[in-house]
Each structure stands twice: as C-alpha cells, then as structure tokens.
C-alpha cells in the first residue's frame, strides 16, 4: 500500500537508481555489523592503553555504532518537544557522556568478556534484533539482544534488550519519573544526570 501511494514514477526511479543493494538490510548484514562492532569494542576493552585513551576509543565506537541522538530523543519522550534548545543540547551532551562513562567506570570488570552472535530476526519496521550471548568470568552467560535499525541508510543500534528488558523503555520510564517528581521540569532531570555523571567519574577513577 505504502509503496503504491508513493507513486509509480518515484517508485520506478527509486528502484532503478537509488535502491540499495538487496542484501544491505538483511538479518545477515545486521549480525555482521554487531559482530564487527562488538569485536572492535572488545579489542579496546582488553587493551592495556591508558584510561583516557580507552575511553576516547570506546566513545568513538559508540558514536559510530549507536543512534545516540535517536535513543536520547526516545528516552526523553514527550518532554523532548517541550524542551527548549539549550535544554535539548545539554540533555544530549549529558546523555552521551553518561552512556560512555557507564562503560568506562566498569573497564576493570569488562575485561576479558566473551561474546558470540547467535541469531538475527527481523522485527518489522523497527529493524533487526541480533541476539548475542555474553560471558563473564565466574558468572552465568547473559543474553543481550541488539536492535539494529537501517532507517538512516546505514546500520545503527537503537536498543539493547537484556534478558527481555529493553534498556530504552526502562530508561524512559525512569527519566519520566524524575521529571514528574521534579514538578514537570526538565531541569530536574538534567540536575540528576549531572550528579550521576560525577558519581560515575569518581567510580571510574576509583576502579581503574
């Protein structure tokens, strides 16, 4: 239906000229993407580079592999529209910094992880869900599912599902609660995020 509505001419032109190769957004492509990004991340996590350098390299991988802005907007939900430009900018900055520090504060524990891609399934228009099994020394293996979207033309991770719990849905409910309890002010959330970030920075120093 949707294709039909787009019009025959545009459709033909699209198919003939601009259509990406047929295999570009298949489950296989998503699985390969997760596999390669995971391997790149593992290489940094296992390396003996100094903390700041490791953190920078992790940040680089995340910015390239994750739709940070899209996830951040999803998490803020309806409050994104009511936020002013300054608030949005500050929120995006804090969101990305928290994402990176959440990993860098755990560099010690994350060393020597083993991960393997087990399967990939198409999840409607949302993208492809790639299942990985992550093993940490002395602990039961954990199933992590990565939702990979091709909406932007290239593969980007838009959600992480840990044992059936979606990170972005959980985080949205959390952030919503902070705003609600702060009297509907986004400033309340930004304050809480700033505080969390400084806690993470301290933990990073203590643990590495």
């Amino acid at each position: 239906m949707r294709v039909y509505r787009r019009g025959l001419l545009a459709g033909l032109a699209g198919v003939l000229l601009f259509a990406p190769p047929a295999h570009a957004n298949t489950p296989d492509a998503a699985a390969a993407f997760v596999e390669s990004r995971g391997a790149a991340l593992k290489q940094v996590l296992d390396s003996d580079a100094p903390l700041a350098e490791k953190r920078d390299r992790v940040a680089e991988i995340l910015r390239e592999a994750v739709d940070v802005r899209g996830v951040a907007q999803f998490v803020l939900g309806r409050h994104w529209r009511t936020a002013n430009e300054a608030e949005r900018e500050e929120y995006l900055r804090l969101f990305e910094a928290t994402l990176i520090r959440n990993l860098s504060a755990r560099f010690g524990v994350l060393r020597g992880l083993k991960f393997s891609v087990s399967r990939a399934q198409v999840r409607g228009e949302e993208g492809v869900l790639v299942t990985t099994i992550v093993e940490q020394q002395g602990q039961a293996p954990v199933q992590l599912d990565w939702l990979v979207s091709f909406a932007s033309g290239r593969p980007l991770i838009v959600d992480l599902v840990a044992e059936g719990t979606s990170l972005r849905i959980t985080q949205r409910s959390e952030y919503g609660a902070v705003i609600q309890r702060g009297g509907g002010r986004i400033g309340a959330l930004l304050d809480a995020m700033r505080q969390q970030l400084s806690t993470l920075e301290q933990r990073e120093l203590a643990q590495n």
Binding site: R78, I169, Q171, S173, E174, V178, R181, L189, R203
Partner: protein, 254 residues
Amino acid sequence: MLRPRLLAPVFGLALVLAGCATVPPETDPEARAEYFERNDPLEPLNRAVFAFNEAFDHLLFRPAAEAYRILIPRPVRTGIGNVLDNLLVPRTTVNQLLQGRPNEAANSAARFIINSTLGVFGIFDVASELGLEPRFEDFGQTLAVWAGTSNGGPYLVLPILGPSTLRDTFALPFDVALDPWTWIGQGDQVQGLRMGRRLTQAMDAREQFIEAGDALRAQSLDVYAALRSVYLQRRERDIRDEDRPQVRRFFDAR
C-alpha cells in the same frame, strides 16, 4: 533499628489517606496518556512500601544471599536450585493445562518424572540434556492468557514480596493452592520442610540477582521507576513465553 521500619507502613497509610497519585487534567492529553501507561495510581503508597523493602533488603535479605553464596559452594547451590526448580514443575504443569496447552503440560510432566528419578530428586537436570527445556508458569500468567491481555491492572509493591500487579497479587493464593506440595503430607516436619523450601527459594533467587540488582541500583536515576518497568516487561515476556530457558551450570564452561 526497629523504628524506621515500623514507621514506613504508618507513613504509607498516611499517604494513602492523603490521596492517590492525581490524574492529570483533560487539558494535558499527553500527560494523561503517560499516567495511564504507567498504570501506577497507588504510586505514593507503593513508594513507601518500596522504601521499606529496600531497607529490609539492605539489612537482611542481600547479606543473607551473600552469605549463602559464600558458605555454599557453587555446585551444591546449583543442585539445590535444580531441586527447587523441579519442585515447581507440577505447578507449571497444572497452569499449562489451565492455559490449554496439553502438549507443554505433557513435556513438563515428563521433565518432572525424569529429573525426579534419573536426576536423583531433581538434583541433576537430565531432562534438559534430553531436550526437554525448563518452563515456568504461574497462575498470574494463566489469568493473563485467559484475559487475553498482558495488562495486569495497577502496579503494586507488596511488603517483602516486592513488585506485583493487581492480577499477580490476586493469583498468589491460587499458586499456593495449585502447588501439589501444599496438600501432600502433614505434621510439624512437613511444615518445617515447606518453610525451609520457601526460605531456600528466596535465597536462591536473591543470590542470582546480586550483580544485576547492584548494577540497577548504581545506574538508576530512579530505582523505583526502573524496577517497575523491568517487572512489567519481564511479566509480559513470561506471559508470551518469550523467555529463554535457563539451564543452571554446575561449573563454569571454560
């Protein structure tokens, strides 16, 4: 030490008397939609009970689970966990029948027979090796299947027991009644065994949740909201039977 714990429920009662969470006005449809999606009209009371549960967990439950981990070696814990899981299988079978899934119920019955005999009272999960993977069903899931929705009504935090919904709370006594072990045997020794099973079950569950629980508490901006979301998502997955069968290991694979 006792006073704050006693105060929590009193404080909670006062909150309920003071009124539930207020519904946003019609003029703010998005806030209203969020309110109904959250499905937590008793939030002030729930938060009070949650604070009490957190204190209880911090002072007693988590330390006990840690002691359980330290004192009992991993292979023994796995064996205990397998026995506990095996004891839950009859209840799962009954619920699978109630959900109109006779084939799955037959699988569970086979699992129970194999693990209780070949697996020596359930210590060894032989059935999983034979391809009969573990499943868990409770009456809350059965009610959801009957109702045709995973919406369990208002979210509730029960004292000590933790996250629940109206549906799952209503289902609790049925789960006790549907568990054959409730009706087998009598006398003080059987009562003692039942109590022992319940306590070990709690230790086993909490021990497995130590790392995840710590991470959640360290990461969350609002632990209450995060746990609420996690509970509702997990229940939805359980109801749809999308959960991954978990087989306990005696040793690390490496």
